[in-house]
């Protein structure tokens, strides 16, 4: 019994150590909507970022934005501006702020906050219509945010 408690403690500590570099959604430092520091310290992967932007069950950014670079993805929405040339308009730090929580840069925007875990009204458990449970987390992980930012940084005109 003692041994198993000890083992559990060790596992918990090493898990915490692994994610120590990752910034918690509640600890992100926004300056006028801009986030300077990487959320993970690990360089973003643009190819994975493109996947997150286009995939319906990940970022699903194309639900609202057109991205010519992803022209093979059908049915791109038009709620927000096309993301073509995003890197010409925004710095990496600005893009990180927009993707993590666009509501700070664009007050009242329809764009969801992808790295936020509190302040919601009737948060649900994904698309089940049921109440959120203990599995509730941000829409995208810290590394997925970094990957998306890396991808957006390639969108130059």
């Amino acid at each position: 019994m003692r041994i198993s408690i000890l083992t559990m403690a060790v596992v918990a500590v090493s898990a915490a150590a692994l994610s120590a570099a990752e910034i918690d959604p509640k600890e992100v430092n926004y300056e006028d909507g801009v986030v300077k520091a990487s959320l993970t310290g690990v360089a973003g992967d643009p190819a994975n970022g493109a996947e997150v932007v286009g995939n319906k069950s990940l970022g699903n950014c194309v639900a609202c934005h057109q991205v010519s670079d992803l022209a093979d993805i059908p049915f791109q929405g038009e709620i927000g501006p096309p993301l073509d040339g995003a890197a010409d308009r925004w710095s990496e730090a600005e893009l990180r702020g927009i993707v993590a929580n666009a509501k700070i840069m664009f007050e009242d925007t329809m764009m969801p906050a992808f790295y936020k875990v509190d302040g919601f009204i009737r948060p649900g458990n994904a698309y089940t219509g049921e109440a959120a449970d203990e599995t509730f987390g941000p829409l995208l992980s810290a590394q997925q945010i970094e990957d998306v930012v890396a991808y957006l940084s390639t969108l130059k005109e």
Partner: protein, 284 residues
């Protein structure tokens, strides 16, 4: 290579233009069975004039074939369910051994009822949806069991009652004793729910006419309910549609028949005052 890139450039421009063209509501007129003209767009009622100039039926936002299906009762799959409800209307049930027809006459004598619901019920001292009224008759006048709020019998009966009022303008009262319920509904309409933090208004007031992924956003009017959806090939009740839209904001939804959805229904119905009743409409 250059040619290839140019070709892609042209393709992108062309498809953007095409999307723009698809996105606006069509300029088309709905005439049912070549006789009843349906008002699918009209000046916004005073209580929504601050937000909208015109109110528009969801019919205007659907594709050519879907619109055509609704124009002819023989092509409208929703009418099969209306026929089923017609049988129910004439069938005695419950301890009183009465049918709806025994008290109300032929179903078409109910013309003019659908456009006024939801409405205040004095005896119950609350706003009644059509479903609540029907269940009130079943329980208290027929001695029959209540129907499930969005079950088949119920949705069919609401389709029958809508169908006999087609072409008549939606006209729900928002003042008097119904006012506080209406205000609750308005509050819900503008509340940004769920992890996506979206309100009804974000999609159906601020963004109608635009594409959200593959969907062409309408004003989210309910004058066409219950609607036959090609997607699930059945009639869909208003509260089930509300539930689906709230679920899609990654929120915990309300239940069909809940006070919240009754209030929301009154408010949304009032945003369509002046549009014709079209149920059962056809949607994708």
């Amino acid at each position: 290579m250059t040619n290839f890139k140019q070709a892609i450039g042209v393709f992108v421009v062309a498809s953007t233009v095409a999307m723009g063209a698809v996105a606006d509501p069509v300029d088309d007129t709905l005439v049912l069975n070549e006789e009843t003209t349906i008002v699918t767009r009209t000046a916004a009622p005073a209580h929504v004039a601050d937000a909208l100039d015109e109110v528009m039926s969801g019919w205007l936002f659907r594709g050519t074939e879907t619109r055509a299906m609704q124009a002819d009762d023989f092509d409208n799959p929703g009418m099969i369910f209306v026929e089923q409800a017609e049988d129910t209307w004439n069938t005695a049930e419950g301890t009183e051994g009465k049918s709806c027809a025994d008290c109300h006459g032929a179903s078409d004598e109910m013309a003019g009822v659908r456009p006024t619901f939801p409405k205040w019920n004095d005896a119950a001292e609350e706003v009644f949806t059509l479903e609540m009224q029907i269940n009130d008759c079943r329980e208290n006048r027929m001695g029959a069991e209540k129907w499930k709020y969005t079950g088949g019998d119920m949705v069919n009966m609401t389709a029958l009652l809508a169908s006999v009022s087609r072409g008549m303008p939606v006209d729900v009262a928002i003042d008097g004793p119904a006012q506080s319920t209406w205000e609750d509904g308005k509050e819900l309409y503008y509340t940004r729910t769920g992890q996506l933090e979206l309100s009804c208004a974000n999609c159906h007031e601020d963004s109608y006419g635009l594409m959200i992924r593959a969907d062409h956003l309408s004003q989210g009017q309910i004058n066409g309910f219950p609607v036959y959806r090609l997607k699930n090939t059945k009639l869909n009740a208003v509260h089930d549609r509300f539930k689906g839209c709230i679920r899609d904001t990654r929120a915990e939804t309300y239940s069909p028949g809940s006070p919240e959805f009754v209030a929301l229904e009154l408010y949304v119905a009032s945003r369509g005052n002046g549009l014709s009743v079209e149920g059962p409409a056809v949607r994708n």
